[in-house]
Amino acid sequence: MTSLLLWISNARWMVYIRDSSFGMPALQSVHLVGLTMLLATMLVLNLRLAGLTMMDWSLPSLERQLRPWALGAIAMVIASGIIMFLGNPAKYLASYPFLFKMTALSLAILFQVRVLRRLPVAEAGSRPRRTDVVVAALALTLWFAVGWAGRAIAFV
């Protein structure tokens, strides 16, 4: 496993991406555009769950509208993220913010999928129950923890 990671990180295409002047900014830009879209879809969905916006949409229909954009955005962040990771695996595996980020990301996805499974309960215009507000706040806390941890990789 270690030798495979080392081999990839030294492959010619990887060195080219990592060491060229535009490779990393380009990857980071894709990562940030994806982050913007992904977290925006999660904001809209969870703010709706908490009854704070988009009240003329039912949760299931809102989720259908957002799903392709959320999936496209998560593909962007994961693809660009994997390439960045492979460029310097030793640095990331030794970074606590990175390990925290991966944990928070797994939890956020699991939690959000659990939330989506309960969606048919809420119809357009229906008022949120207290548990809906708590669930939305937890989901958004997890999603934004992923983002903050990502930023912390560069500073810690």
Binding site: S21, M24, P25, Q28, S29, L32, V33, L35, T36, M37, L38, L39, A40, T41, M42, L43, V44, L47, T53, M54, M55, D56, W57, S61, Q65, L66, W69, F144, G147, W148, R151, A152, F155
Partner: protein
């Protein structure tokens, strides 16, 4: 005082030096700037997708705009505050940076685009909701906004590599 001189003066103000010299203030402000992207740019892009007919098609455009703008206003307030503070700490370097200049030009374009949308299309949104047809001009405003916002993100991220 020249514009460059003003930028260099800005960098030396007590607020700017306090931010640069603090271990945690700069990362905190920069992190907040990035974490406000979904709430500001992300929500505006959602509305652009509606104008382009790519999402939220069977809902009211006018109501969607109200829902989106109410929250993105908060996002943009955070964006401009943190962005202004970040600029202060590195104003001299930012002044000559091509990506920073492009970012500012893009932001001016987005402001003008929003003004045009407001002046020409804002009051007529209820009509399109009834007809189900978004006028070509409004769709162009949405396309411009979507593309230029992505440009702002690319420029913002790339300029940091040159400091």
């Amino acid at each position: 005082m020249s514009l460059l001189g003003w930028c260099q003066w800005l960098e030396q103000t007590p607020l700017a030096t306090a931010i640069s010299e603090s271990v945690w203030l700069f990362p905190l402000i920069e992190g907040t700037h990035i974490m406000a992207l979904p709430l500001s740019v992300g929500l505006m892009v959602m509305f652009d997708l509606r104008l382009l007919g790519l999402a939220f098609k069977n809902g009211s455009t006018a109501r969607l705009m109200g829902d989106v703008v109410r929250w993105s206003k908060l996002g943009f307030a955070v964006m401009f505050t943190t962005g202004g503070l970040l600029f202060m700490t590195q104003a001299g370097k930012a002044y000559g940076n091509a990506f920073f200049r492009a970012k500012l030009i893009f932001l001016v374009m987005l402001g003008l685009n929003a003004l045009v949308y407001h002046a020409i299309f804002y009051s007529r949104m209820a009509e399109w909701d009834a007809s189900g047809q978004t006028p070509l001009g409004a769709r162009l405003c949405g396309a411009l906004s979507l593309v230029v916002w992505i440009g702002v993100i690319i420029c913002g991220r790339t300029m940091a590599y040159q400091f």
